[in-house]
Subunit: 340 residues, 2 copies
């Protein structure tokens, strides 16, 4: 198949200059006479010339592209973060690769391959092993970790978890709830681990005896439903459930309904993330809002700044979250929405 786009040689010939001059014009160098610049520009236009990306990459040792690695795209969390990332990166002329690991064993390999075609990478959550991240950093590829504790010299971007979890838990305690149980797997993700830690700290600070152990749950509604049901059917019933995310909380809401428990009368339930469902569900779900797009955009900013500046000391950014109080956590007036 013949190449259909024109090359720098054709432009040079047409403009009566060398390819170096074309390259300079095209790169916006100041050292070109206005007259020749004009001739070259015209030739470029006439031939509809756009430099070959591959050649430029090979010669210039850079890709003008970055990548985002995520576990899975379902649910609003990842897609919003990625959207925030894409919007920022793509405005700056960077291509954006996406790679889902889907919990596959090949994930590490795939990420390493991706690293070969980008100038930098954002790694979300627990998608790849620390060793892989370290190897990439060692190879000179900037890495920003999103929602994951610092690894080596990588930058990190996270949303505040600990303080919000404490505030949320304190709020429940103020309402008189006493047997609080955390629903979610603290080992499953750094975020959940921090939320659980904040929860524990608040319960301990209340001096109401030892906190209950957490009840593990996957991240999906069905997981929360099962976990809550199991909790209701065994041992002493809790009077408040702090779920690791909104899906789990909504599953728990359904489980409570299935067991005839009134929320928030018999049982308070809270979530995390403030997905759109949280507002629509009855009763409205008290939760914590994360700045999803800002997480992505911040990661993009950090990455590009690092690529551009050859900065070497890692930076760590913590974005604020907001408690969203609705009705599932106690006897509030039924507020349709919280306006801070």
């Amino acid at each position: 198949m013949p190449r259909t786009t024109s090359t720098i040689y054709q432009v040079a010939r047409r403009a009566g200059v060398s390819i170096a001059t074309v390259s300079r014009v095209q790169a916006g160098h100041e050292t070109v006479t206005p007259a020749t610049r004009e001739r070259v520009r015209r030739a470029i236009d006439e031939l509809d010339y756009r430099p070959s990306r591959s050649a430029r990459q090979l010669a210039g040792q850079r890709h003008d592209a970055t990548g985002v690695v995520f576990p899975d795209l379902s649910g609003p969390y990842y897609s919003e973060v990625i959207l925030g990332y894409e919007e920022k990166a793509s405005v700056e002329g960077q291509g954006v690769f996406i790679l889902g690991t889907h919990g596959r064993a090949q994930a590490n390999l795939r990420v390493a391959e991706l690293a070969d075609r980008v100038d930098g990478l954002v790694v979300m959550g627990r998608t790849v092993d620390d060793a892989v991240v370290e190897r990439m950093l060692g190879a000179g590829i900037p890495v920003v970790m999103l929602a994951r504790p610092p690894v080596a010299a990588a930058d990190t971007v996270r949303a505040e978890n600990d303080a919000s979890a404490r505030a949320l838990t304190a709020h429940l305690l103020e309402h008189g709830y006493r047997r609080l149980v955390f629903l979610g797997d603290p080992m499953g993700s750094p975020d959940v681990s921090e939320r659980h830690a904040g929860f524990m700290a608040a319960v301990r600070a209340a001096g109401i005896g030892a906190p209950e152990p957490p009840v593990a749950s996957g991240f999906r509604e069905a997981d929360g439903y099962r976990a809550a049901l199991h909790l209701f059917d065994t041992g002493a019933p809790p009077d408040a459930l702090v779920a690791a995310n909104d899906e789990i909380a909504i599953g728990a809401l359904r489980a409570a309904r299935a067991r005839g428990l009134a929320v928030p009368g018999d049982l308070a339930i809270t979530g995390w993330d403030d997905i759109s469902l949280a507002e629509h569900v009855r009763p409205g779900l008290t939760t914590v809002r994360q700045p999803l797009r800002a997480l992505g955009a911040t990661a993009a900013g950090l990455l590009m700044e690092r690529i551009g500046s050859h900065r070497t000391e890692p930076r760590h950014v913590l974005l604020p979250t907001a408690l969203v109080v609705r009705t599932s956590c106690g006897t509030h007036a039924d507020q349709e929405e919280q306006r801070p």
Copy 2:
């Protein structure tokens, strides 16, 4: 900054062969003696050699990457489709670029740039002008259109709209609703246009007089809310609303509540897409389910098959949708979920 990865030259030297042989081994050619193959393999391992993507692209005239162009990632629709695409493409070793146009004027330019770094492109909905698509096809870049009518020789993947819209509308008519109004902008997207056409056909077929004109609405809940409110407050009230998507329908649901209209008693409301909210909202929203991931995966399959085979005649795939009947459309038993 020194290059940290090894090159084909270093491997060749170490294995005591020429770079051509390394290239052959690496490409799996059969013409290499097992003995030398083994030596080369070892050298590759020892040096942790991975061929430079840029060099390979430049020499081989291909990118091993494709791109998806979408208008915006918010809402479950696009992210699910893209996830389906990514999953399929990435398993086949193809890199996946994403590009959101966000309704910007620069969209056409951005897409053209993206076209320079991929072997093929998926274009969703009305993100770029037909002329741009035609130019890309002319330049030999395969394009698959998703949820958009055929353009030139591009492949297309779509979900069934017309028949489902007819079935949905017929269902409402059977329940005795007579003043049906379509909520959404048929000019706004090909999908909506088809849904509206199906709606009109069904109403006409019922022989109950001329159909009402559609009431335009954006795609978001707030848009649906406003549009429905306006409809309620002016002219003769409708007794059934067929919304172009679930968000609009849910907005209409809220508007009905705001005006004291009972759903489905005074007013039936239906949506489209079966987003997770549709099931949770009260009353449960009757809607049409699209195979979102399958749309993405099908587009990926078509694109890669076309890239691999140099196929030239366009293919058009229509994926089936499913009517999901809940309670918002009439006096059904309140089914928690539909299991076909």
